[in-house]
Subunit: 207 residues, 4 copies
């Protein structure tokens, strides 16, 4: 009987579908302005059905966030493995991150949306679960720097702090994308990121 299997697959497909719609709405209208009724309508489902797949409105968005962080993690790991030198690995991380913020912009926005949403919406329970995934990524990137140091390719910096610095920088600069037209005066934020990365590597690479 593939019936049970088919059911399971359909269930997952439906879940994905709802999540997709929710993501779209969240990013178009923001967290609070996105209502369950809207999600239902856009998903062409009844409200009740939404609640069959998710316990809560909260649950929907938490799922979205986890999904996003997982995906980011994968992208970074993949990018790093494809790179040869340690310096290239660092560049790869940045590219992966920036690219993720663009191609998966919906996910990226959801993540930062909640990063900056201090405990107001999410209960601690969900917050920490998500922070943990973030930590995993952080540790992974630190390892890359450490490897570079051990390989003699990088100077003996504080790997952890350097990583946090890099990450903060990326987050901060990516946020400026929304201001390309105004504050950046039409200069592509990507060029700024590239500029920052080059300078960052200057502090790191042994010459």
């Amino acid at each position: 009987m593939g019936s049970r299997e088919r059911r399971a697959r359909e269930k997952e497909a439906r879940t994905e579908h709802i999540l997709g719609v929710a993501r779209t709405l969240l990013l178009k209208k923001g967290l609070h302005a996105t209502t369950v009724n809207q999600i239902a309508k856009l998903a062409e489902l009844s409200v009740g059905t939404i609640y069959l797949y998710f316990k809560n409105k909260e649950d929907i968005f938490a799922a979205l966030q986890e999904e996003g962080l997982m995906l980011l993690n994968q992208k970074i790991v993949a990018a790093v493995s494809a790179a040869a030198t340690q310096q290239d690995k660092v560049r790869a991380i940045c590219s992966a991150y920036v690219e993720f913020s663009e191609t998966q912009s919906s996910y990226y926005d959801v993540i930062t949306y909640f990063l900056s949403t201090s405990e107001q919406f999410f209960p601690k329970r969900l917050k920490t679960r998500i922070d943990r995934i973030g930590s995993r990524i952080l540790i992974y990137c630190s390892h890359v720097l450490e490897a570079g140091i051990e390989a003699g390719e990088f100077r003996k910096v504080d790997a952890r702090r350097h990583t946090i610095w890099l990450w903060g920088t990326l987050n901060g600069l990516i946020q400026f994308r929304k201001m390309e037209a105004t504050m950046l005066q039409k200069e592509s934020y990507r060029k700024i990121v590239q500029y920052a990365l080059d300078n960052f590597l200057d502090t790191l690479v042994v010459k």
Copy 2:
């Protein structure tokens, strides 16, 4: 007649008062949980009166943001003038910024709250007005770098880009404060900021 004057002054005082209350509530409860009725009650005014001074709930929070940016601008200018060397001026900017984000955390949060809130809450009209104030600050900081370059104290970097890089970094790292307990593993984000600044200056200062 000083009567008209007095009235104008009273009007402004009232406006300030409402804004103060709104800020308090916004930061305690978040944007959505702050209701006009609450503002009215805490301000010991009637709801109607609030609408006499502000067209909208939206308007209240936009005013809050402008106020905040103005204040930030002042702080930075003051900090810079107090510093002697160009390097100190840069350090002063950072301190001022981080301090502002802590001591005037209410204002800082309001600013970033909306910075990261893509057109969700504010109509474009308000957004650009705010970006413009941001630009002014940016330009001011660029001038400090340029002055340092001209003085031979700094290397011939791209002042504008270096400034944006710095600002992005600061913003990004300040956001991590919320994660001191989790992702930063109890390390003070301030130390991270210091670490980043030292490294940043390494890319800038002529040795």
Copy 3:
């Protein structure tokens, strides 16, 4: 300024009005089937207005109950003072109680409705407040029996227990009114009450 006064009076009138509508609906449809929307509609008010006068659906019905118990208390006290002999006072209590259950049947039903609604709907807080009013009535009735005993009109019974017995009996029998057509086979429950009271007094009065 009678303005503030008038406001207060209007406010109370409105409250009464809502309570009246709520009572009507509660008794016609039961607690759960009575919705705030219905109350609003029947009261020709908007839902929001209902919530201006009552914090909760719960609050509405609690108010109803207290009102009812207060009224009952008054009726009993009045009836007792009008009676001459102790025996007459006891009869007066019963009459008052039964009459209350008929003429103020709405109130009576609300009271017993909640008496029998074990903590499911009301939080303890409200339950005990109401029980307290009930206790007051109970004590008052006990005093009548005690007075009769002291006057040598009644036998030396346990006044408190005799009172509870009487009250239980009345409650139990009044409940049968709903079954006049079926279980009582068309005999008026009032006659049954009369019969019970006569026999009850036989256990009490010194002959």
Copy 4:
């Protein structure tokens, strides 16, 4: 073929099973909070199946009530047959009733739940069917009193009315159990029942 038989037996067993679950839930959570989905889950059946055995949610609870009254009837008959004197038979009825209200409190509550629920939940059709079973119990008890009168053990009272009085009293007092902590001031309601019964028998027994 025993097949048809077996099927009938299985059907009945299933019905009993559902009823059992429904009773459990009803008493744990109250009528309104008990949902058909819950019943299905606890019964390890699908919702659809529930609707195969019962037309309605209403139907389930009506069946529950009938079951309960049947059981009560049995208990009373059994208790009476075990008693020797007529007085003991009356005491036996009371004990049986009070005990039923305690040990089978689930059933008792269901019965009174709906007794006091004027046509709110049940359509007349169901109400009268239930009243009829109640009547049967009433008549049976009357017979006990009549037998006592005929035996010269009881005074020549109106057997029917005396029975209703007794029953009303029991019901009324049992309701007070919920108020042991408050209105009864920690005195066991059972003692009150005993007290009432003793006094009741005083009006009945020939001395």
